[in-house]
């Protein structure tokens, strides 16, 4: 990031942030369209089910995810990965507020830090905020439904949601690269899926660790422990 410049003196696209030039104009436009529709829907849904607890939580999650995304960790083969945070945000905030928060993070990264392209911003929001959150929501919902009050199974659900959210977002990125004519699918897809299957393990670990930390410190913030407490806990 600051010590080893890439041989190509290019902007530093972290994680799976697609820089400008990797996506064609039609793919970029489609990205903006899908991202816009999804975010408008998310704002509407978040507003309908808005809870007071989301006011401090959305701010905190935004700051935490931004900072956590900067902490690239080494993966095998001289590659690094970093957290996305879609699963953690989805579990804590619900999918709609989570989508808004991740989109804010990705937006600030593109506009202020030139991390991820400007034309590719819509595409990046689709991959990380929309796909990442919806996959997390689906996996956590399905596995979590089997868990009921079993906290261990809930952690497994969170890990699975985190891992699959990274993998699916990477698959979407590969498909977009292929549709843009940047890299054929049979080359980009296995490579992207392979690397991100490993990065996803890191995502799963950080997500579970963060949930465990919150369980110890402020378990009232977790949807799955809130049920266990009496309503008049305070």
């Amino acid at each position: 990031m600051y010590a080893v410049p890439l041989p190509t003196s290019l902007p530093d696209p972290a994680g799976m942030h697609i820089p400008d030039g990797f996506v064609s104009a039609p793919v970029a436009a489609a990205g903006y369209l899908v991202a816009g529709i999804a975010l408008a829907f998310a704002v509407r849904q978040a507003d309908r089910k808005f809870q007071e607890r989301l006011v401090p939580l959305m701010g905190v999650m935004g700051a935490f995810i931004f900072a956590a995304q900067m902490m690239s960790f080494p993966v095998a083969g001289g590659t690094s990965g970093h957290m996305l945070g879609a699963a953690l945000a989805t579990i804590l905030l619900g999918p709609w507020a989570a989508m808004i928060v991740i989109a804010c993070v990705v937006g600030v990264q593109a506009l202020v830090f030139q991390d991820g392209g400007l034309a590719a911003l819509g595409t990046n929001v689709v991959n990380m905020a929309v796909v990442g959150v919806l996959v997390s929501y689906a996996v956590y919902g399905i596995v979590g439904a089997l868990a009921r009050d079993n906290r261990r199974v809930t952690y497994v659900a969170a890990f699975a949601a985190a891992w699959l959210s990274i993998l699916t977002a990477a698959v979407f990125a590969s498909v977009e690269l292929a549709m843009s004519g940047t890299s054929p699918l049979n080359i980009a897809l296995p490579a992207m899926a392979g690397v991100h299957a490993l990065i996803g393990l890191g995502e799963g670990l950080v997500t579970v660790a963060a949930l465990a930390f919150i369980t110890v410190t402020r378990s009232d913030l977790l949807p799955f422990t809130r049920k266990e407490q009496t309503v008049e806990a305070e």
């Binding site: 990031m1 600051y2 190509t8 290019l10 902007p11 696209p13 994680g15 697609i18 820089p19 990797f22 704002v43 309908r48 089910k49 808005f50 809870q51 007071e52 607890r53 989301l54 006011v55 401090p56 939580l57 959305m58 701010g59 905190v60 935004g62 700051a63 995810i65 900072a67 956590a68 900067m70 902490m71 690239s72 080494p74 993966v75 083969g77 001289g78 590659t79 690094s80 990965g81 970093h82 507020a97 808004i100 928060v101 804010c104 600030v108 990264q109 830090f113 030139q114 400007l118 940047t182 890299s183 080359i187 980009a188 490579a191 992207m192 991100h196 009232d220 809130r226 309503v231 305070e234």
Partner: protein, 116 residues
């Protein structure tokens, strides 16, 4: 459950503190190429990336700071605060929109959460 404003402020301050603490350690982050960069380099399409049309704090380097580590830390803190401001602002906005509406008119859940 009821979140009073003191608890909300404590939560916000603690969470922001954790984020800023992470930013403090950001110079320790791995500088290896990440997933997409690795694939782009290996598969030979890295050159198709374009320079951004404008730069504000490109590569997470805070301007006017010579020390690279300090520049990274400051950029991380600035970004975390900026995102926190944005997401908090949106959350406040969503809350206000909801409050202007008559209770229960639009399917809004009026749970114990919604009084402070």
């Amino acid at each position: 459950m009821r979140l009073n404003s003191h608890r909300s402020i404590a939560l916000f301050a603690t969470g922001l503190g954790i984020a800023l603490l992470i930013a403090l350690f950001s110079p320790l982050a791995s500088t290896s190429p990440d997933g997409l960069e690795r694939v782009a380099e290996d598969k030979g399409f890295m050159e198709t990336a374009k320079e951004p049309p404008f730069k504000v704090m490109a590569d997470y380097a805070f301007p006017w700071v010579g020390n690279e580590k300090a520049a990274t830390i400051l950029a991380g803190m600035a970004g975390a605060l900026l995102v926190a401001g944005m997401t908090s602002g949106l959350a406040f906005g969503l809350q206000r929109i909801g409050k202007r509406r008559p209770a229960g008119s639009n399917g809004r859940q009026t749970t114990a959460d919604s009084d402070t």
